[in-house]
């Protein structure tokens, strides 16, 4: 089997409920290698839940998720091994406050991938340098700005060399003036060919970076297509309504 031919990520009829509340009502989605897919939609439309299911943070109720040809929702699959292939960055950074930047980044490579200290630090320093954070290597997270913390969180996920990156509203907790530095990092990753699934409220960013935009509404993908199409001539009235509200709020 040729790995390059297999889609990076396939979701087939994924359902997820929290109690009575069905959040995902049958999601079908294919992400090709090196593709950047943005998930847009109102709060509560299921974007974050979808990412959590792909990361196995939340178990799916039914349906299948396949990463690089391997079904990760199969019973008995090693959750920890699957997660190594999937990097996730959260809205709230979630850096480890008792560790320096360098320790944050090298923890998983050392303990999970069993790299020795030198190799793990080499990998971390390389990434820090690339994203202009080398001088912050020995700082504690509390002493960094939100934008710096989020960039460190991205580097921490990248240090595991994941094949897919999931970004969950990574700029939502940031002051407006700090958003750009984080977005430029993501842009750089996209240019390098990183496969990414991004939940975002930044419509301008989604339009710039995405190969494909999916509009989620009420637990399903209502409409998807290239950003030009979704943002200029959306087919579905719900999509138009959502985008009109975004434009009215000055966010596009």
């Amino acid at each position: 089997m040729n790995r390059d031919e297999a889609p990076a990520l396939v979701l087939k009829d994924v359902h997820k409920s929290f109690g009575e509340n069905e959040v995902l009502k049958g999601i079908d989605l294919v992400v090709e290698p090196h593709e950047v897919v943005c998930l847009i939609g109102a709060s509560g439309s299921g974007k974050s839940t979808l990412l959590k299911c792909v990361n196995l943070t939340e178990p799916v109720d039914s349906g299948r998720i396949v990463v690089e040809g391997e079904e990760i929702t199969a019973p008995g699959v090693d959750v920890n091994r699957v997660r190594r292939k999937i990097g996730i960055v959260f809205q709230a950074f979630n850096l480890f406050p008792h560790m320096t930047v360098l320790q944050n980044i090298t923890l998983a490579p050392r303990e999970v991938l069993k790299l020795d200290r030198k190799a793990a630090e080499g990998r971390a320093l390389e990434l820090l340098e690339r994203f202009g954070l080398l001088d912050k290597r020995d700082e504690y997270p509390d002493r960094l700005s939100g934008g710096q913390q989020q960039r460190v969180a991205i580097v921490r996920a990248l240090a595991m060399r994941p094949s897919v990156m999931l970004l969950d509203e990574v700029t939502s907790a940031l002051d407006p003036e700090l958003v750009a530095e984080v977005l430029s990092v993501i842009k750089e990753l996209a240019d390098e060919g990183m496969t990414m699934l991004i939940a975002t409220h930044e419509m301008g960013f989604a339009r710039d970076i995405a190969d494909r935009v999916c509009f989620l509404d009420d637990g399903g993908i209502l409409e998807q297509g290239p950003p030009e199409q979704i943002f200029t001539s959306p087919e579905h009235p719900r999509t138009r309504q959502f985008l009109q509200r975004i434009i009215a709020a000055g966010r596009l």
Binding site: T57, R83, F90, N94, F96, H98, L107, E111, M160
Partner: protein, 295 residues
């Protein structure tokens, strides 16, 4: 009473300038607090000295000869100072064992999953039981019960060993709860972040959750250990001659209680460094957080 007007109330008033105002206030505050301190102790001293039985008490409790002699010991009475080394020994051993056992109990109590239900039950029952029984009763039950069981080696341990076992059993139940509070204070998102990087549940606990939890509970832990230092005196009920017991022996044969004062001072002396150490840790933690807030 004279300090009422200064201190916290003044601290709340807007300071006129960063340097000048606070310095003047500082000078006045020092003067007022000095006067207040002197007055306070003068009143206490007056009450003690003027009390009808003050001369008798001074003779019974503060006689310099007996203070010195009980400290050093005589041919027939044990030295309170030497006996106090037993308290230090009991404390040092118990402390290490408590830190380990309590952590195990706290971690076991937090393991999720139906398979571990019996383990969780045992941990809960343990803390409920040993927090509920007075230490002195646990000492009697362990110290007189276990030898009576005729369990070979386990029934022929020294009184001190049974005392340490009882202290460890009781204090571990308290300290486990302190640890548990610390573990639960670490936000679930920290665990989620660790797991998302591929760390196992155990690795996440060991590298991410526990280090943060332990840091947060160091002040209450040290507080419990100050209590433990004093409770080492209770081991004497099993017959061990530690400082409080040695003081009692001295008092009973010399009809002078200066030995109790000596023992009390020794306990205070060993507690103060631990208390100051706790203060310093709290201050350091606060400083670090504030430094973070500024940046």
């Amino acid at each position: 009473m004279t300090t009422r007007g200064t201190g916290p109330a003044d601290a709340l008033e807007p300071s006129p300038g960063p340097g000048r105002g606070s310095k003047m206030l500082g000078g006045r505050a020092v003067l007022v607090s000095s006067v207040s301190t002197v007055l306070f102790f003068a009143v206490i001293a007056a009450i003690v000295v003027l009390a009808p039985g003050s001369e008798v008490v001074a003779e019974r409790f503060f006689n310099p000869f007996h203070l010195r002699q009980s400290f050093l010991g005589t041919e027939s009475e044990p030295s309170v100072a030497a006996a106090f080394l037993l308290n230090v020994y009991i404390f040092a051993i118990s402390e290490v064992l408590i830190l380990i056992l309590a952590l195990v109990i706290a971690v076991v109590r937090g393991i999720p999953g139906p398979v571990f239900f019996p383990f969780r039950m045992v941990a809960i029952a343990y803390t409920d039981l040993f927090r509920g029984i007075p230490l002195i009763l646990v000492l009697y039950i362990i110290g007189f019960g276990v030898p009576g069981l005729g369990l070979g080696f386990f029934s022929y341990l020294s009184d001190v060993t049974y005392g340490i076992i009882a202290l460890v059993l009781v204090y571990s139940a308290y300290v486990a709860e302190v640890y548990r509070a610390g573990i639960e204070s670490v936000h679930e998102s920290q665990n989620a972040a660790a797991r998302s990087l591929g760390l196992s549940r155990w690795q996440s606990l060991r590298f991410v959750v526990l280090p943060q939890a332990v840091r947060r509970v160091i002040p209450p832990l040290l507080n419990d250990f100050i209590g433990l230092q004093k409770d080492t005196a209770l081991v004497s009920v099993l017959g061990s001659i530690e400082a409080a017991r040695a003081a009692q022996i001295y008092g009973a044969s010399q009809f002078n209680y200066a030995s109790y004062v000596v023992a009390a001072l020794l306990f205070v002396l060993i507690t103060i460094p631990l208390a100051r150490f706790t203060d310093r840790l709290i201050a350091r933690d606060k400083r670090r957080r504030q430094a973070g807030a500024v940046a």
